[in-house]
Chain length 340, copies 2
Amino acid sequence: MAGRPVDGEQAASSRSRPATSVDVARLAGVSRATVSHVLNDQVERFSADTVERVRRAAAELGYVPSAAGRALVMGRSDFIILVVPHTTFIRLQDVIEVLSTDIEDLGFTVVVHFVSRTKGTTSARLQHMIETLRPAGVVDLGGLSAADLAAVERAGCPVLPQAAPLGFNTWIGRLQARHLHSRGYTRLAYAFLSDERDDPYGQGRADAVAEFCADEGLAPPAHIHVSIDPEGARRALEWLLVLCGRPVAVACYNDEVALALVFAAKGGGLSVPDDVAVIGVERAAVGQVVSPRLTTVASNVPAALRHIRHSLVRTYGSPAVLDEISDPGEAFTVVIGETT
Amino acid sequence: MAGRPVDGEQAASSRSRPATSVDVARLAGVSRATVSHVLNDQVERFSADTVERVRRAAAELGYVPSAAGRALVMGRSDFIILVVPHTTFIRLQDVIEVLSTDIEDLGFTVVVHFVSRTKGTTSARLQHMIETLRPAGVVDLGGLSAADLAAVERAGCPVLPQAAPLGFNTWIGRLQARHLHSRGYTRLAYAFLSDERDDPYGQGRADAVAEFCADEGLAPPAHIHVSIDPEGARRALEWLLVLCGRPVAVACYNDEVALALVFAAKGGGLSVPDDVAVIGVERAAVGQVVSPRLTTVASNVPAALRHIRHSLVRTYGSPAVLDEISDPGEAFTVVIGETT
DNA sequence: CGTCCCCGTTGACACGTGTCACCACCCTTC
DNA sequence: GAAGGGTGGTGACACGTGTCAACGGGGACG
């Protein structure tokens, strides 16, 4: 309540009808055009006195420009759609919060859109959203198929990140592989989530592991698909041993997959990490609380989003430079547990 | 590509400039007013022929009414904001998908808003969103404080669910307590997540457990707060034993809390479930994959959202009745594992 | 034949904003 | 004193929609 000295007045006026630029103009004793110019920071052509009067009036009335009016005349709205893939992200809310803050600093408003699980509905829902909202842009966290992406851009809506989309997956996969190799394992594998709809990032990481193996002269990594239940994990593990023998080291899509394999191995009388080594991704809290404690890749969310943040300021350019972190290595670190 | 026979034509027209109601009117050979009436289903006063012509023209042009234009003249938009609390929900995406479908069936568009973790920013962000978007309503999943709620309603924006908000928490807490009691335990406890910002539902469930104990003539449940790391869980468990002795049965906020306690107990040489029994909520996949397998409460998402869905159709009334499930008992079921 | 009414349709306004072109004024310069 | 140029500000249009009031016409009724 300390923030709004004229609370009573403002509440009364905003309850009946939100203040418009006409009200601001009247109170400031200027024309509506002047209000519009001043409030959009085109102040060069106005006297300091006028600018001040307009700003005071706007503040006093609690004036907020109508998004509808703005969007109507501009041809597009001030909204940016954040497209989230259908996957279980432990840090999802952090990611959203960081990006929201950045985007709002640029003067836009974030709208989160979850990609629907049922295939095909995806594009329909998003398409409708774009046609109806006409957003200033779309930020893709990996939920968009190539077809969706083309459709969005055809509608004249810029998509971020354009270049190097999801490049951090390469980094994560490489980090997992390097750690496993540094522990002495020479036979590597990659474990996907069995339902690939929930695993938009797996392919990129598996490719990075394969690349690492090639670089180091190791055999190409085996691929297994794990479903998160005891029986599914048991079968995947069995198949893994057929493919690779022991010892084998597995880079997993996430901590859930890793835990499923760890407990399947223990349940099958195998030793972790001697027979089967496992590394996850996410540093989920559960992974650190169970026994054995999981080795995993932790992420520094703001650093990991560096590319997207850069694209944002580049695309919706603003004088404020919000970036301090330059080394991609800071974004991800291996947390050593008891499974490697 | 099978869905859009006139794809080329439509793409060409929508690339340059989205079709407006003027275009539809011209093509159908009627006035713009007629187009508006027909497309808003006020067809009683028009000839069947006219209605048909207008609809064909709209379809052919791929006409989508501009949200901006609509919102401007209506005073509010067709968006409904779904407010999600800052907590880790295993079924979050399912919840969002079910509600999105329902809301879209009613002719609205869903916009997801995550409550910010930093206290206070909450209301600011949401407030700005409401002022700028002027949504038709807000659906609260538990992220709104009393102050936020009042602020939203003061802005003239209806909030759902108005009555019995989050009533399902009572049901969940009671189910946990009843199950523990049915296993023969008489000393019950409730385990909150230690960071209460991440635990918007805990209080309601703990109250339900307390009520059950009172009904059954048991001692009031002890309350502990668990942070999801080995040391934090160990301390919480230690304190629990001081409060209750053994055996003790713990209803947990979610599967993470439950797992933390289970492994803390095992690490401390206690027997699960003989010394410490544990039941979670969520039926998270990890809980079923570790050893011992977790006893937990699984939810049928559509059934659990029954109240909200009812409120939706009641508030934004539509002839279509979308509800078939009537028994709240179908929404939640106990999945018996090895920890009770 | 005149009046009334109803059916199908439409003209015109309002919503709130951004911005282009224009204007009034004053100060300089020839 | 008239012409020119810069400063500070504004009038008016366009954006796309929903809806009220009105209108023409044709049939029924007195």
